[in-house]
Structure formats: structure tokens, C-alpha cells
């Protein structure tokens, strides 16, 4: 390590939705590398250590090295000439970049969707139907004495969730920390999160909805048959005990994850949890929070919502925003072969989407923006290498509880930010559309 180092205090880790903003980074400025990330969990340490300045071209067109300007030009033409362009991803970039993506999609009458559609999209659909009794993580840390994790494994996906927010820390009204809390975990398998829980409910796969509905009934004082054990794998006495604990706690929280959104039932499962939390407010104070996976997927929900009125799966074909999951969400617009161009920002659908969607992605012109090579960047017609947010790029991100946090940078990067690339594309698209449609100040004299 060189002598030329600096320390960045209160830096923010954006690997997962915890968005811990108490990082203390030691940065080797000569090597442009973070050599230490104090307070980071195992995932955060890997995030900070592995994002360095890689020796790669800033842009590729058709796999060949190109300049930024050439790539912007090619990308702008692709988007301006497409009939059904889609813009997807956005969970690992700043709000400032996300705004540019929405602006571009609006201009080209495209469809914008984020990774939310394959994550907590079902929860977003449920919010609209049922509503959300909610709180910030700070309020939960300070008040919650009953913490229920349902369908998630924070020990491996959000390691500091337990220690920073919800299980061990002392709070204003939780002076003894862990000792003042009861922790419940509901899952189909015994994960590394199970030892953290006081009560572990191993539910049968595919039976979360039945379990949630039985709990709702018990909370409301209805009788439930002992046959619930055969159905869900959980004994009636266990459920009755849990219902009593939930009604008698001072402040409870239900944290829920992909076990509910990604399985049969999807938004009905999420909706059941949200309804359960709302029901419990007849007796005590209870909230429900979806546990978000990426550093700024919550920001994507916020930006797309405030700009279009809807959180994801938004189409502008008619010149105004329309929302319809299943119609305008990306697995669908790709699998049905509807998209004729795609811009993928800070995400990797070519790795994680169903096969039929990936097959179509290979057939259309794709623009990708990413900090590292991925399956998606490899199949792209135009691939931009961009600088990493929270390490070389500042801006705003939203933590999983909708709290906006400002990023601090560690070292400069020769690569542009996503925001810079998207702004350049936006400006060029605006010019191309003006030429095409003959309007505005660029209208050519006849």
C-alpha cells in the first residue's frame, strides 16, 4: 500500500438495501483501491474491495472498442428509431441517473421498468390494493420489541440488518437491546438466520398464504381448525401463541422477502402480510416492511413514482404514463417478443431472467451501462463501462425504508457516471427526435 491514502468517514455501502452509511473507508489513492472498509459486513467488504478502476474501454460497439461519443450516437439512434423501446434495471445507480432514464423513456415513448418487477413488484401491487402500515428503520430500532422475518434470510442477504437495525441494537425505548426483543423467523428451510430467532416456524413450501391468513383469523378472534398443521406444517398452538404475542407486543414489525413475492400467490402473499400488520393496529402498533435487495432499488421506485405516478412497469406509447404489471414489465415485454430495442442500466437480466426473455434480448439491439462485464454487457450492441456509485460517483440513494442518503466518494474514476452517459444520450435523442418530427428550434426551414 502506498503512502498516499485518505480516510472517508460516513461513507455509504450500496450493496444491499441496508445502505449502511457508517462506513469508514481507507483509500489508496495511487492504486485507486479501497484497502479497508471499517463497519462493513462480508458483502460490503467485497463490494468495496472488488470495485477498482479496471483496464477496459469506456465503450464497445458490436464488441469493438469505441469512443464515448460514438457509443452515445449509436445508442441515441437505437432508441430514437425503435417502435417499442424498453428501459430496464436502475437498481444499482443513483437517483440522478434514474431521472435521466425516465426522461429518455418519456421522449421515445418507450416503457420503463426496474428490477422491482422481479423483486418486490408484487409487494408494490399489494401496497396499491391493501396499503402499508410503515415506519423507518430508525423507528423500528428504537421501538420494536417483536420482530418477525418472513420469507427471507438476512444473515446471508442483509448481514447488518440484525445488528444495525432490528435485533441487537439498543433503542430509545429498547434499553436492553436483544434482551428486550422477541425475534420470529418464518421460512421453509433452516437458514443461517434461524439461530438468531427465538421462535422458528418451518412452514411447508407454498403454504405461506394459508399461514398468514390463519394468523389474520386468529388475531381477529376467529376459530381455526387444528387441521392447519397438516396444511402448513405449523401447529395450531404455535400459531395461537404467535397471534397473542403479536397482539400484546408494544411495537411489532413484519419484515418480508422473496419467499413471499417469488412464489405462487406473489402479491396475495405480500398483501396478506400487509393486511395482517394493519389488522394488528386494532390492538397495538404494528408495521410491515419489504426487505429490499439492492442499494438503490428503493430510489428507482421513488423516482419512477414521482415522475410518472407509478412505481415500475410504466409505458409511454400513447404519450402519457400507463401502468400494467404483466403487460409492461420486462420479463413479459421480452418473453412475448414485443420490445424492439432495450437499454439495460445497472442490472443483468441476461443472467437472471427466464430463458425465453434472454433469447429475445439476443435478437434486438441492446444498450448496456454497467461497472463490470456481465452476460448482459456481453450481448449488448453498445456497452458502456461506467463508474461505481458510492465509490467513484456521488449522488442520492434511498435506503429500503425510503430514507434518502447522500453518497460520499473514495476515488476518482476515468469512466463516466451513469448520469453523465444518460444525459448525453438524452440530449442526442432530443435532437434526433426534433429532426425526425420537424419540431422545436431544430426544425429545418422548408
Amino acid at each position: 500500500m502506498s503512502e498516499n491514502t485518505r480516510t472517508v468517514e460516513n461513507a455509504t455501502c450500496t450493496f444491499c438495501g441496508c445502505v449502511c452509511d457508517d462506513m469508514v473507508l481507507t483509500v489508496d489513492l495511487d492504486q485507486k483501491r479501497i484497502t479497508k472498509a471499517k463497519n462493513a459486513c462480508v458483502l460490503g467488504r467485497a463490494w468495496f474491495a472488488e470495485h477498482t478502476v479496471e483496464d477496459r474501454p469506456v465503450a464497445l460497439i458490436g464488441g469493438k472498442e469505441a469512443s464515448l461519443e460514438q457509443a452515445v450516437e449509436e445508442a441515441a439512434h437505437i432508441l430514437a428509431n425503435a417502435r417499442f423501446p424498453i428501459v430496464y434495471g436502475l437498481s444499482d445507480t443513483t437517483c440522478e441517473a434514474q431521472r435521466q432514464a425516465v426522461a429518455i423513456t418519456d421522449m421515445v415513448h418507450g416503457t420503463i421498468d426496474t428490477t422491482t418487477s422481479v423483486c418486490h413488484g408484487p409487494s408494490g401491487i399489494a401496497f396499491q390494493g391493501v396499503g402499508e402500515s410503515t415506519a423507518s428503520l430508525g423507528e423500528i430500532k428504537n421501538r420494536a420489541d417483536l420482530v418477525v422475518y418472513w420469507g427471507g434470510n438476512p444473515a446471508e442477504s442483509h448481514p447488518r440488518h440484525f445488528t444495525r437495525y432490528a435485533v441487537t441494537p439498543k433503542g430509545m425505548f429498547i434499553p436492553n437491546g436483544r434482551k428486550d426483543r422477541t425475534v420470529v423467523l418464518v421460512d421453509v428451510r433452516k437458514t443461517p438466520s434461524a439461530p438468531v430467532a427465538d421462535i422458528f416456524l418451518q412452514v411447508k413450501p407454498g403454504k405461506d398464504f394459508e399461514l398468514i391468513w390463519a394468523l389474520r383469523a386468529l388475531v381477529k378472534g376467529r376459530r381455526i381448525s387444528p387441521a392447519i398443521e397438516e396444511e402448513t406444517g405449523i401447529a395450531l398452538s404455535t400459531l395461537e401463541d404467535l397471534a397473542q404475542r403479536m397482539k400484546n407486543c408494544r411495537y411489532g414489525v413484519l419484515f418480508f422477502g422473496m419467499g413471499l413475492t417469488m412464489t405462487r400467490g406473489r402479491h396475495f402473499n405480500s398483501g396478506g402480510i400487509l393486511a395482517l400488520a394493519t389488522d394488528l393496529n386494532e390492538y397495538t402498533h404494528f408495521v410491515a416492511k419489504p426487505v429490499r435487495g439492492h442499494g438503490n432499488v428503493t430510489g428507482a421506485d421513488n423516482v419512477v413514482s414521482w415522475q410518472t405516478g407509478y412505481p415500475f412497469g410504466v409505458n409511454f406509447s400513447r404519450g402519457y404514463p400507463r401502468f400494467n404489471p404483466g403487460e409492461f414489465t420486462t420479463v413479459d415485454t421480452l418473453s412475448r417478443g414485443e420490445a424492439d430495442a432495450a437499454m439495460i442500466i445497472a442490472s443483468d437480466p441476461a443472467s437472471n431472467f427466464p430463458r425465453r426473455a434472454i433469447e429475445h434480448l439476443r435478437k434486438i439491439p441492446v444498450i448496456s451501462l454497467d461497472t463490470k462485464p456481465t452476460e448482459t454487457s456481453q450481448l449488448a450492441r453498445v456497452a458502456f463501462s461506467t463508474a461505481t456509485y458510492g465509490i467513484s460517483v456521488g449522488g442520492t440513494v434511498y435506503r429500503m425504508d425510503d430514507v434518502p442518503i447522500t453518497l460520499r466518494t473514495a476515488f476518482d474514476s476515468p469512466f463516466p457516471s451513469d448520469e453523465a452517459v444518460l444525459s448525453a444520450i438524452r440530449n442526442r435523442v432530443a435532437e434526433l427526435l426534433a429532426e425526425k418530427h420537424g419540431y422545436g428550434m431544430l426544425k429545418k426551414a422548408s
Binding site: 450493496f15 444491499c16 462480508v42 458483502l43 467488504r45 467485497a46 463490494w47 474491495a49 472488488e50 470495485h51 421498468d113 418487477s117 422481479v118 413488484g121 408484487p122 401491487i125 434470510n153 444473515a155 446471508e156 442477504s157 448481514p159 421453509v188 428451510r189 433452516k190 437458514t191 443461517p192 418451518q202 413450501p205 407454498g206 422473496m258 419467499g259 417469488m262 412464489t263 405462487r264 406473489r266 402479491h267 435487495g293 415500475f312 412497469g313 404489471p325 404483466g326 403487460e327 414489465t329 420486462t330 420479463v331 413479459d332 418473453s335 443472467s351 437472471n352 431472467f353 427466464p354 430463458r355 425465453r356 426473455a357 434472454i358 463490470k372 462485464p373 456481465t374 452476460e375 456481453q378
Partner: protein, 114 residues
């Protein structure tokens, strides 16, 4: 002889750390092509840790290395693996109008590969 089991792809610690190193690199590929199986099921199928299995359904198929888990932790007939390109090959694309493809708890046929 193929058996029907339920596959749950999900996050793991190693998947999270290795993807930071690079999703096209060896460690990530190894992590996302390993499947955890109930040890009683493995014994019945004549499998040891590290043996190859084929997981398939009407969508696709993939070859993975298996790793045993205690029955108390992973129930019989349930498989778990770190999600990635291999697990995604088995996902149905029809989202039933929700935008979300079923990504956990879906059926696969499991057979040892000699």
C-alpha cells in the same frame, strides 16, 4: 431414475461476495452451479457431495454439483441453490400478468449424472 423435487434459488453469502469479484469469473460460476440437497434424499439417489446431477423441467435443464444438508435444515424433496444463470434456465417466463416469474418453489426433475 428421475425424481420430482422443489427447487428454491436464493441469495447466499458466497454468491454475494463472488459476484463483486465478477459474474463472469470462476468463483461466481462455481457458487451458482452448486445445489444443496437433503442428505437422506442424496443417499437414496446414491449421491455423494460433489457428484453431478441434472435438474430439468419443461423449460430447460442444467448440470450442477450437489452438496448435502441435514434433513432438519432442508426438508426432503426440497433443493436450494444460489441463484444465477443456471437456476434461471429453469424458470417459466409466463408471469400470470404480474411481471414476476415464479422464481422459487418450482418443480424440477432430479437425476444423478454418471
Amino acid at each position: 431414475m428421475a425424481e420430482t423435487m422443489i427447487l428454491i434459488p436464493g441469495r447466499t453469502s458466497k454468491q454475494g461476495t463472488s459476484l463483486n469479484a465478477g459474474k463472469l469469473k470462476g468463483e461466481y460460476l462455481e457458487v451458482t452451479t452448486t445445489v444443496e440437497m437433503n442428505s437422506d434424499d442424496m443417499q437414496r439417489l446414491g449421491l455423494n457431495d460433489g457428484d453431478q446431477v441434472r435438474l430439468s423441467n419443461e423449460i430447460g435443464e442444467t448440470l450442477l454439483r450437489c452438496k448435502g444438508r441435514k434433513p432438519a435444515d432442508l426438508p426432503a424433496g426440497v433443493l436450494f441453490m444460489a441463484y444465477g444463470p443456471a437456476s434461471s434456465l429453469l424458470m417459466e417466463s409466463d408471469t400470470a400478468g404480474s411481471g414476476m416469474p415464479i422464481s422459487k418453489n418450482f418443480e424440477v426433475q432430479v437425476e444423478p449424472v454418471k
